[in-house]
């Protein structure tokens, strides 16, 4: 029997009272991301084929940075980039990976709202965090980050995970 590595996909959606331009700015600029992404700073080279780094905040370096390439760059509409987590993998997990995982942002204007969809593909079952009482793992991390992004854009105040949900 041939064993095939089973990859996993996660998909999230939210409706944000903002404009695609504003949301794009929040998604691609580090001064915004540090607010809603638990201190992580995004650094995008603003073109397809460019580099992306997502840098862990001071004191949380153990969480690791994410490095990769920008695969699609369509301002205000669509962003696709590689999300590399291999520096945190155990060697046997790295061996199972079929290339880096991939994150897609889709922005769709809908009246006074923007539908924001996030698709994270080419993950392994090992990337799923079974314990729901943490922000670790793709499945726990993204919903928290997206809620915080929505909150920041709509109310001017991000979710402070330390004091709001400790």
């Amino acid at each position: 029997m041939v064993t095939k590595t089973e990859t996993q996909t996660y998909m999230y959606a939210t409706y944000i009272r903002t404009t695609p331009e504003k949301l794009w700015e929040a998604l691609t600029q580090g001064d915004w991301s540090v607010k809603y992404w638990m201190g992580f700073r995004v650094e995008f080279e603003l073109k397809a084929g460019g580099r992306v780094r997502i840098v862990a905040p001071k004191g949380m370096e153990h969480l690791g940075n994410h490095d990769g390439k920008v695969l699609a760059w369509e301002p205000g509409r669509k962003l696709v980039y590689e999300f590399v987590t291999t520096d945190k993998d155990k060697p046997e997990v790295t061996a199972k990976r079929n290339g880096p995982s991939r994150v897609t942002y889709e922005l769709t204007p809908m009246g006074s709202l923007v539908r924001f969809r996030l698709i994270h593909e080419n993950l392994l079952p090992e990337d799923q965090e079974k314990d729901p009482n943490t922000f670790r793992g793709i499945n726990n991390g993204w919903p928290a980050v997206i809620s915080s992004l929505k909150s920041l854009l709509e109310t001017g105040r991000e979710i402070d995970f330390k004091s709001d949900c400790a």
Binding site: Y12, R117, I146
Partner: protein, 114 residues
């Protein structure tokens, strides 16, 4: 303005969310999608003690509440659990409860230290 009520868009969203969660069958579908995302209608019908039609209806209700999101891949429609609205609703009440708990801890602390 909403007629006869002071319902806000946030209330409407909350109504859809709680109605969607208020059914054991729909909660079971969410459990299935939490364990494995990307299931099709046919796959979701397996091990569900209800008709395909009923499953489809439940999925539509979950989609309306934004608890399930779908995407088309080839001929298949994949379903994913989207817990983002639950985060938003939790945020609305966790903070007040947190204060109560912190206050209780504070009282305990001062009593023990007195």
């Amino acid at each position: 303005m909403n007629k006869a009520t002071s319902e806000t868009p946030a209330d409407t969203a909350a109504d859809l969310l709680f109605k969607a969660l208020a059914d054991p069958g729909r909660r079971r579908l969410l459990d299935r999608l939490r364990i494995k995302g990307g299931l099709t209608l046919t796959q979701l019908c397996e091990r569900m003690p209800m008709s395909r039609q009923a499953v489809k209806k439940h999925l539509t209700q979950l989609e309306d509440a934004n608890l399930v999101v779908t995407r088309r891949v080839g001929r298949e429609l994949e379903h994913y659990l989207n817990p983002v609205p639950i985060h938003a609703i939790a945020k609305r009440w966790i903070k007040p409860f947190e204060h109560v708990r912190l206050e209780a801890l504070d009282h305990l602390k001062s009593e023990l230290e007195d």
